[in-house]
Each structure stands twice: as structure tokens, then as C-alpha cells.
């Protein structure tokens, strides 16, 4: 399963970014191997519609689980339709810590605001 975490930096030590569509980086982690790849979010500085565009972007990367802060209405609709499970990380911790919390089953499911 591929997991996407919105991040402020390119490493697992970087803090989780709470914004989804405007996150500076998406970090894609393979849950089986633990290998990861950081990709700069091409829509981070977009004028509008960045939520659904970012959602499309991570769908195209075959993600099964998303860890982020707040996911807006339009992006949420797209991600839900694609069957992506969404979790919220708001502890301002690192990407690595969020992954541990996901494994430990203590991350909250992201609910509509």
C-alpha cells in the first residue's frame, strides 16, 4: 500500500504540513518496504482549484492512504470517490512520527470540517 503524507520538507524528519492542496511536498511511502520518495507539489502556489488538482495528482500516484491536516470539501469529494482513506495529523510532529502513529492505529480518521 502506498501512503501519502503532506510535508513541509523532503525528508521523513520534516514536519507534517496541515494544508493539503498547498502542501509544499508530498511524501510517498511504500508501507511494505518503508522506501519513500518526496515530490514537490506542483500546485502549491496555484491560484485556485488546487485542492481537486492535488487530489488528482496523488490519485495518479496510486495512493491508498493520505495523512494530512485539513482536507477541503472539493478535494475530499475527489479523494473519497477514489476510495482513499484519509487520516489527520495535527500534532505538528514529523512525517516519521505520523507514520508510526498510523501503524500504532492511533491516528484519527479525517472528518468533514
Amino acid at each position: 500500500m502506498r501512503i501519502c503524507i503532506t510535508s513541509q520538507g523532503e525528508t521523513l524528519e520534516a514536519p507534517v504540513e496541515e494544508r493539503f492542496g498547498r502542501a509544499p511536498y508530498f511524501i510517498f511511502v511504500e508501507s511494505e518496504t518503508g522506501s519513500f520518495e518526496a515530490i514537490e507539489n506542483p500546485f502549491a502556489r496555484g491560484a485556485g482549484g488546487v485542492g481537486p488538482k492535488a487530489a488528482q495528482f496523488i490519485i495518479n500516484h496510486n495512493v491508498g492512504i493520505l495523512i494530512s491536516g485539513m482536507v477541503g470539501g472539493n478535494a475530499r469529494e475527489v479523494l473519497e470517490a477514489a476510495g482513499i482513506a484519509m487520516f489527520t495529523s495535527r500534532s505538528a510532529g514529523t512525517v516519521k512520527a505520523a507514520l508510526e502513529q498510523l501503524k500504532g492505529n492511533i491516528l484519527e480518521r479525517s472528518e468533514q470540517q
Binding site: 500546485f43 485556485g48 482549484g49 488528482q56 490519485i59 475527489v78 470517490a81
Partner: protein, 283 residues
Amino acid sequence: MKIAVASGKGGTGKTLVAANLASVLSKDVSTTLVDCDVEEPNLHLFFPSPVTTADVTVPMPVFDPEACNHCGKCAEFCRYGAISVLPNRILFFPELCHSCGGCMLVCPNGAIREEPVRIGIVTTSHPSNRLTLVTGILDEGQSHATPIIRAAKEMGGSSDLIVFDAAPGTTCSVVETVTDCDACILVTESTPFGLHDLSLAYEVMKLLNVPSGVVINRSDGEDAEVLAFCRSHGLSVLLTIPFDRGIAAVQNRGELISRKDRAWEEMFAELYARCRTLVGVHE
């Protein structure tokens, strides 16, 4: 001559200026007054009169699920994020769509066609012999004001004298309203907010290449900062309206100060003369 009335800051008195100016001008010349503040039009309050109504529509894409093979080219093309294509579904967000028609053009399967969707109305009335009032009204829940403004401006036609009442701010709505106008009256008040937003609005007029001048409304007689701004930017002060309870009372009853008071009638006629000077027309 096309004159826009804009402000930057809201509540400075755009509508007061536009309504009185158009009312005074229409005594002698056929005048059209266009309310381009389509999210909150209020000029009609000063000119109650029966209206005719026309729908305003914009084209929006409709997807044919049979013909679509989910290639995703439309979603990739849409810079507004209005389309998401999943392996077995298409999601369309009408509030993000700018009706550019690009998705239809790039679809290799002919799976997208356009259908008109109503987003508001334009009303027209004739409150007096030589005055036509056109009002753009955006439907509640719709987010794109500019197509309504465009429709209202078109409905205003090409009469010799048109006054456009713009929305507050310096957004696309204001740009749409002021574009192609011969002059713009910037209404401000002598407060820090009024001056701050006046400076923003002035920058927009400069970019649009529309000559502008300033009306100071609700002046308490201490307008030094606004006057200094006008001086340093080469802006003329076209009219100063004092902070006066009597004026507010007339306005609050839905009446016009230029109809109540001959002196105001002359001052608004003079405002028009000064607008002509802005454009370079000399009597």
C-alpha cells in the same frame, strides 16, 4: 461617454454619486445607469420602476459517460481544478469552472458538450423619460460575477452617456466594469481605510489606462491626507460632499439630494463637466 464609479473601500458612497450623476444628466440627455455591483445591487432603490428581466447563462461542460474513456486530458487541461477524472468516474465542480470550453476542445473522444446554465439575471427599467436603469443580479450561491457584469454592460448598449456603478474592492468585478470606460470616479472618505483602498483602486485605474478623479464623501473638512495623496499622484478632486445628517436622511428615504436641492443638482452637473475634462474634452 462611459463613466465608471468605483471606490476600493465599500460604503464610501459610490451609489450616491452614480445615482445623482445619472439623474441629473438624464434631465437633458438620454442616460443609462448600469448597476455592476451584481452581488448586492441597490441602485433600483432610488429608481423604483417596473422591470423586464433576462436570464444570464454561461456554458458548462456535460460529460457523456458512454464516450468517455477516462483518459484524463480534460482534468489535466483545466487550470481551475474543476474536473477530476478517476479510473471509473468523472467529478465536475461547477463552482470552479470558468466556462472556457477548453475541456471540450482537448477531449479526443468527443465526450464533452456544453450546455447553458443560469447564473443570474439582468433587469431593465425606464424610471424616467431619458433614464434607463440596467441591473445585474448574480444568483445566490453562484461565484462568478463577471459574466453578469458583461451581460449588464451589453444590455446598457451604446447610448451616448452611460454611468457604471462598480462593486467595492479591486477584484475582477471592478476590472470588468471599468475596462473600456472613458473615465472613472473614485469615491473615498477621509479615513485611513478610505485612503488605503483609494490608493489600491488608483493603481488599478493606472493599469487599465482609465483616467480617474476623486470624490471625497462624508468630508469632515479635514481631508489633508487624501488631498496630499491626490496632489502627489496628479489626481484631481472632482467633488467634496460634506459629512451631513441632512444628506444621510435624504439618502435613507431612497431620495436623491440632487432632486431635493438645486445646489446639488448644479454640483453633480459640474462633476460631469470635470469628468469630461479628465478625458480631455474641453467645453
